[in-house]
């Protein structure tokens, strides 16, 4: 097919608002298509399909959210049609709604933010049922006993071998680290208080865990860097921990053409103050650091007012949330590996803390000079559901819209955040970077997020004329257009037309198969045999995710050279 004459934004290839044709053949962008349909895109905005680098879309935590929140299931109900299965849920949609709603937004790829190795079968069962989009999952490594022991011993070779094994066992794509050390401490109800607070019974610090995992990650030449949820997330004053964490790894270099560390949902880690009373934004300090250092990236973790379901491997945080808010509380500690918590909550405009949190996310994006360094996310559904991405995009593009929102918020906001003073308005190119080009680059997905020759033919056409429309003034129109794509082309197939789903292709599941020297693989094997014999509650032979659970894989090779 040929998408003719659209106004194309393909920042990876330096194209920012050029009228051009996109030719597609066999699911890929080609120089010139020999045959096929023509879509007349003249006067419309054309971008690569959206790429979501961090959302909780599949697995045990998400399903716990569904099970404990029937009140959420009753929202967002859409009946079945000839083509579509029913949709349910707002913050925790059912699997079909996940796929349909991403597609309608013009997204074509989404990655599950955190899967514990032993429960990855469940993650993949859900991923398999999400239609249309390509997907993957990041595997949790920040609290596994084997990781803690390797980090304690400084044995990076063995750690790399364990990561290789863990990615295969979970069919995972990258190394996710959440509150390193804290998840293990939570096993007996504790937590870690900072980078140098040793993990009980393991004689290793979060600093050592992070550094070791980063070194092993680079040794393995993995497509993505370590993806980190910092210690002390959610606590007033935690920006100090965030900066300390970054400084702690400044000396580590990336083995690939990408960042060496990605810090996720930075909004939750950019807090000043000493308590909730003097809580304030430290986004300027964080953004300043990122402006001065090119080897780090982050994503926003923007708040959306209304209902949210927090779900994270930061279990002690969730317990604290539940106590503070008197909310229902689910917890799930996972033997030898991780912990997690799920707590529903509501973000209110007149709640001073929430209003400041909302401002912080936007501040971070507007103060970071290069949009390549900061992705647009809401840490779905922690900050808010992904269906609200157009809200965030238009807030970034329109100062008048921001002013209108700020006027509805608690009066403390201007005292604790400088958002109201920021005039910057992102343009189409910067939005295309934050939602397509940068997430693909940061994840190391070479064929995603751009429309160069050889890229996957994932193309979105929005009902917007970049020449005529002013996103600063007409933000309502822009939001509406971003909410329902005029066309979503996935792998060369039209999946959405005028906001309606017209086709349900099956997406692929990306996972990384990394090789390591046999010697180290054997040492890990010996440790695993020991752990399964003594500590796990299941047999080693039943542990790995089997082929039956990943029926449309996209295997990315990596490994120690």
């Amino acid at each position: 097919m040929i998408i003719k004459g659209g106004t194309v934004y393909d920042p990876t290839n330096g194209i920012l608002g050029e009228e051009m044709d996109i030719s597609i053949e066999n699911g890929k962008v080609v120089e010139e298509a020999k045959k096929g349909d023509v879509i007349d895109a003249k006067g419309f905005l054309v971008m690569p399909g959206g790429v979501d680098a961090h959302a909780h879309i599949a697995g045990a935590k998400v399903n716990t959210g569904r099970i404990m929140r029937p009140e959420d299931g009753r929202q967002g109900l859409e009946p079945k049609t000839k083509l579509l299965r029913p949709s349910t849920g707002y913050t925790v949609p059912n699997c079909y709604a996940m796929g349909y709603r991403y597609a309608r937004l013009g997204y074509t790829t989404s990655f599950e933010a955190a899967t514990p190795i032993i429960e990855s079968r469940h993650t993949h069962e859900e991923l398999e049922e999400i239609p249309i989009i390509d997907k993957g999952a990041l595997t949790l490594f920040g609290n596994n006993w084997e990781v803690l022991e390797c980090a304690r011993d400084g044995d990076i070779d063995k750690l790399a071998a364990y990561i290789s094994w863990g990615l295969r066992a979970s069919r995972g794509y990258g190394v996710k680290v959440v509150n390193p050390g804290g998840g293990e401490a939570w096993g007996f109800g504790g937590n870690v208080t900072g980078l140098d607070d040793p993990v009980p019974d393991f004689d290793v610090t979060p600093r050592e865990i992070i550094r070791s995992l980063m070194k092993a990650n680079e040794m393995l030449n993995l497509p993505h860097s370590v993806h980190l949820h910092t210690n002390n997330l959610g606590k007033p004053g935690n920006y100090a921990t965030t900066l300390e964490t970054l400084k702690a790894v400044e000396d580590i270099t990336s083995s690939m053409d990408r960042q060496v560390l990605h810090i996720t949902h930075m909004q939750f880690s950019a807090y000043g103050g000493t308590g909730w009373r003097d809580f304030e934004s430290k986004a300027p300090e964080i953004a300043d650091y990122f402006n001065k250092h090119d080897q780090f990236t982050m994503d926003m973790g923007q708040l959306i007012f209304g209902s949210a379901t927090t779900m994270t491997a930061d279990a002690p945080l969730e317990y604290a949330n539940a106590r503070l808010l008197h909310a229902k509380w689910s917890n799930h500690d996972i033997e030898l590996e991780e912990s997690s918590g799920v707590v529903p909550l509501f973000y209110g405009r007149k709640m001073p803390i929430n209003a400041i949190q909302w401002a912080i996310g936007l501040e971070l994006a507007l103060l970071t000079e290069s949009p390549w360094k900061i992705l647009m996310t809401t840490d779905h559904p922690n900050g808010g559901p992904f269906v609200n991405y157009p809200e965030v995009m238009t807030l970034l593009m329109s100062k008048p819209k921001r002013d209108e929102e700020i006027a509805t918020l608690h009066s403390l906001v201007p005292k604790r955040s400088i958002l109201a003073t920021l005039d910057r308005e992102m343009d189409w190119g910067e939005i295309a970077i934050m939602t397509r080009a940068a997430p693909a680059k940061i994840l190391g997905l070479k064929d995603k997020g751009h429309l160069g020759i050889g890229a996957d033919a994932d193309v979105t056409i929005y009902d917007l004329n970049p020449e005529k429309i002013d996103p600063s003034k007409d933000y309502k129109k822009v939001k509406a257009a971003f909410s329902l794509a005029k066309y979503n082309v996935k792998g060369g197939e039209v999946v959405v037309k005028d906001g309606e789903i017209v086709s349900l292709p099956r997406g692929r599941t990306y996972w990384v198969d990394a090789t390591v020297p046999e010697e180290h693989a054997q040492r890990v094997e010996a440790d695993l045999v020991d752990k399964f014999t003594k500590y796990y509650s299941i047999q080693k032979s039943n542990y790995m995710v089997q082929d039956a659970y990943v029926t449309n894989p996209m295997v990315v090779k990596a490994g120690v050279i």
Binding site: A60, V62, N63, T64, R66, I67, M68, R69, P70, D72, G73, R74, L77, P79, K80, R85, P86, S87, T88, G89, V92, P93, N94, C95, Y96, I118, E119, R121, H122, E125, E126, E129, G187, F188, G189, Y319, A322, R323, K328, W329, S330, N331, H332, D333, I334, E335, L336, S339, V342, V343, K534, Y535, Y536, S537, I538, Q539, S541, N542, Q546, A548
Partner: protein
Amino acid sequence: MIIEDVLCPFCGCLCDDIKVEVEENQIVSVKRACRLGSSKIRGHERIKAPMIREDGKLVETTYEEAYEKAAQLLLDAKRPLLYGWCSTVCEAQKKGVLLAEELGAIIDSTATVCHGPSIIGIEEKGLAGSTLGQVKNRADLIVFWGSNPSEAHPRHAQRYSSNSQGKYTPKGRKNRKVIVVDVRKTRTAKNADKFIQIKPGTDYEVISALRMIIAGKGDALPEQIVGVSKADLEEAAEMMKSARFGSFHFGLGLTHTRGRYKNVDNALSLITDLNSHTKFVVMPMRGHYNVTGFGQVCAWETGFPMSVDFSRGMPYFNPGETAACDVLGRRETDAMLVVAGDPASNFPKAVVEGMADIPVIQVDPFENPTTYLSDVVIPSAVAGVEVEGTAYRMDGLSLRMKKLVDSGYPSDEEILENILECVRRRQDDN
């Protein structure tokens, strides 16, 4: 040939270390399984062929005819109910949900006569839980409340709880204290360090009293609380608060008695209270090996874990209105498909009466009282023995069941796929 690390298809323990010896496609011996699992794996007499009831008699027929008849009966109904699901694998459960969607039927699992109230309790309060390996490695205090694993989950104690050994519990039973609360002294109670006997239907009051004591408000309590001494409860509370890691396992003693989900709600709240003092986890002792699996599949597909009514074209969930016993009890159901369940035996007889005058289709390997009420009987392969597939353990961990022997029978998944095809063809014809 010995097949190692077989998963047992009986109870929610989902033990995965069973050794099965197979000779010439026959199961010859089963090692390590408890009496329940061993019996299931070894097998029982099977329904030989599909049957359709004609003039009162069940007459043998072909699978194709049975599928057609089943599809016709379900399509002719206005309010069909698809029930069972817990003794089969997720792959079959998924087909069940799809069939319910396309028929506009109600789908419900055996959870609604078992731990359904636990699900409702979790919807009120959440579940502060963990995987079973955490209990094995860390728990120095274990509470069984209204649960009798000695009879219902025989290997639980040794593999996961009271007698298990782990990293922080190398001495096994000696590293632990076990508290049992029940209305009678069960086998489980005999192995307890502390047994508290309560009167039937008083769990809610006793839990409330415990919570008061734990919150330091015990002075407001009388010396006797519904027949239990305050001193006894104070001792139990002290054992719980001073544990390093406590785990609380509850069973039908909470879900089947007066109060039902409110008992569970209170127990879940107790655990949350305890977490202010020390680390505590709670988990329901799920009965069947894949009842948890149905809840998971149904939740990610429909947003709700059980009792889902598709008659509006989208999922509607309201146990008390849409559960199997509700609709059968109100005589609203006018056709029923039973897969991997035996409602005739397990529902109150007054509810089973609702099955007597409606067409019933049974998909099961084994004959049982539901067969006496069935109009179409379709024998299936035994999941976990003759069919591989996914199951979820009581703590939510998913594992893959193995296929040990071939059988001539189609799997539940295959049968449902066929019925679905017949339904779709008939719907297209109209």
